[in-house]
């Protein structure tokens, strides 16, 4: 049953997946198994995205399905199972003045399925919030997202503030967004630019040494 559920989710069979999950619960299956199936399916979806078989529509549907499964099992869940040690910690957000979220959300999703602990600060994130989150969560990696060309200067201000707070040496900074490129990474003082979510995962993995 679990294998069928994983397959249904990974193959985007939404109705089938929800029906199967309900049947499993009704048959007395441990709710944790449903969640495990969800995570396994997300890993497959992530792989298919990296292999360019899946794109944004499938990540959106996969994310929706995971939420629906979580809502389904929540009433029957006793305690959260201990997760394995994460591959690393990432603080992520769209810089101040910019309210675009789709690119950032895809990166968040892909880091999550690759076992990173992701602190997504949302959109229009002030310099102060980034600095505070770096202090609080002690990430190895900071991801700055921006869709507007205005974000070049805002990212630069954000990196400068991280420097001024004495935190620059503790984090690697990556930037992304449709208007970004390698020159933008240099301009803003980041360590690298990632053209898509797969690249973001590769960068984060390379910086955390696959911990």
């Amino acid at each position: 049953m679990k294998a069928d559920l994983v397959k249904a989710i990974a193959d985007m069979q939404e109705e089938e997946a929800l029906k199967l999950a309900q049947e499993m619960l009704d048959a007395g299956e441990d709710p944790q198994v449903i969640l495990e199936a969800g995570r396994e399916a997300m890993t497959i979806i992530g792989q298919r995205y990296e292999e360019k078989e899946y794109f944004l529509p499938e990540l959106i549907i996969g994310g929706d399905l995971l939420q629906q499964l979580a809502a389904l099992v929540k009433p029957r869940l006793k305690a959260t199972a201990a997760q394995g040690k994460p591959a690393g910690t990432v603080v992520l957000g769209t810089v101040a003045g910019d309210i675009h979220d789709i690119g950032k959300d895809v990166v968040s999703f892909m880091l999550d399925v690759n076992n990173f602990e992701v602190h997504d600060l949302g959109v229009d994130v002030s310099v102060e919030k980034f600095v505070e989150a770096i202090r609080d969560f002690k990430p190895e990696v900071v991801g700055l997202s921006g869709f507007l060309t205005m974000a070049y200067d805002q990212m630069r201000r954000t990196v400068d503030a991280i420097k001024e707070a004495g935190l620059r040496d503790r984090v690697k900074i990556m930037i992304g967004g449709s208007v970004m490129d390698d020159a933008a990474a240099t301009y803003v003082g980041a360590d690298a630019y990632g053209p898509d979510a797969s690249a973001a995962v590769k960068l984060a993995k390379s910086w955390t040494g696959g911990k």
Partner: protein, 413 residues
Amino acid sequence: MSEKSPEELYKERQARILAAAACRQPDQIPVLGPFQKYPYQFAGMTLRQAMNDYPAARAACHKFLDYFQPDADFGPIFAYPAPAMETIGWKTFKWPGHGLGDDVMYQYLDGEYMTADEYDEFIFDPSGFMFSKWTPRQFSALQGFGQLPPWRRFMWTGWMNIGAIGGPEMQESFRLLTKFAGELNEWWAHQAKYWGEMTEKGYPLAFAAWDWPPFDILGDTLRGTRNVLADMRRRPGKLHDALEVTTKIFEEYGSGAVGAPLPFTWTWVHKSTREFMSDAQFKEFYWPYLRKGLVTLIDKGITPIVYWEADWESRLEHIADIPYGKIVYHLSNTNFERAWDVLGGKVCLMGNVPNTMLLGGTPDDVKAYCKRIIDYTKGKPGLIMDAAIMLDEAKPENLKAMFDFTREYSASR
């Protein structure tokens, strides 16, 4: 020293741009672009000021025009009318002084403004849906429109059933709508005044109509990005039916360019970059409808300028399937050389000096980039020079280098 009259300069610029757009040899490579927020930055003004003080916005655009001398100009069209937007209560948009800082570019709030079960209603009667459902969701001042009966029932004695229009909420909506229209017309009067002034100086208007691809009409303001993308899998049949409708809307929008001195319909492409959908999805849901609409416009004598936002390298072969010499493709992050290999000499390419270079580079960097892409065209016509992305910020000396170098270098070849 040139002693040409403004009229002669106008004709020269118009001919130059039309030649390049049709992949014919111009006297020199034209340079123009949708310089969005940049003219106000250049004039030392915030976007908030430009959106509220129309004479000041006009003055800023003149300053920009006189200094850079683009071959065609947009004028103050990108400084949207903030007072009118306040009056109508545009809920799904943020702009300087309305949710954003004084000099931050305005942005749309992506969301679901047509639910999945409203597809049929939209397909049956798009205007009815837009009036009574979409309008109140977009504009807080027009809540009364939710009570508007479908106008299709107005026929014969159907008019006897429209008493709702007399209600207080509807009356208030009409009052605010009238106020809004007055404020909007004041803004348009300044636009028109500028167009007259720039024509007198010898510059043609760079646009005649704006448009959005059939898929984006649904995705941008109706279903929202996430939903429209998921709809390709969840309800492909409905999506196709709705795309038939929005293709007609696309053709209607873009047709306004017929007969203009520069008959350009700027088509802003948002939702189909390589990250957003697979090639198969692009070929099924996006390109056939957009292509059909573009060909309809071309058949009317219009030259569409398609603004391919983001990176299109992987789809160049698909979008090469279009009548040659009749359309302009504006590139932003697409590799120019690769695009020229596929499209050069067939489709006029516009762009794509990196904005990061215009902001953070030097005049020499900019000249080297412009030289590189001009040299790559090997003298074949069909290039219009511009920044890669609608320009908001740059160092003036870098932008000046783009204009001056391109002209001098291409005229000398």
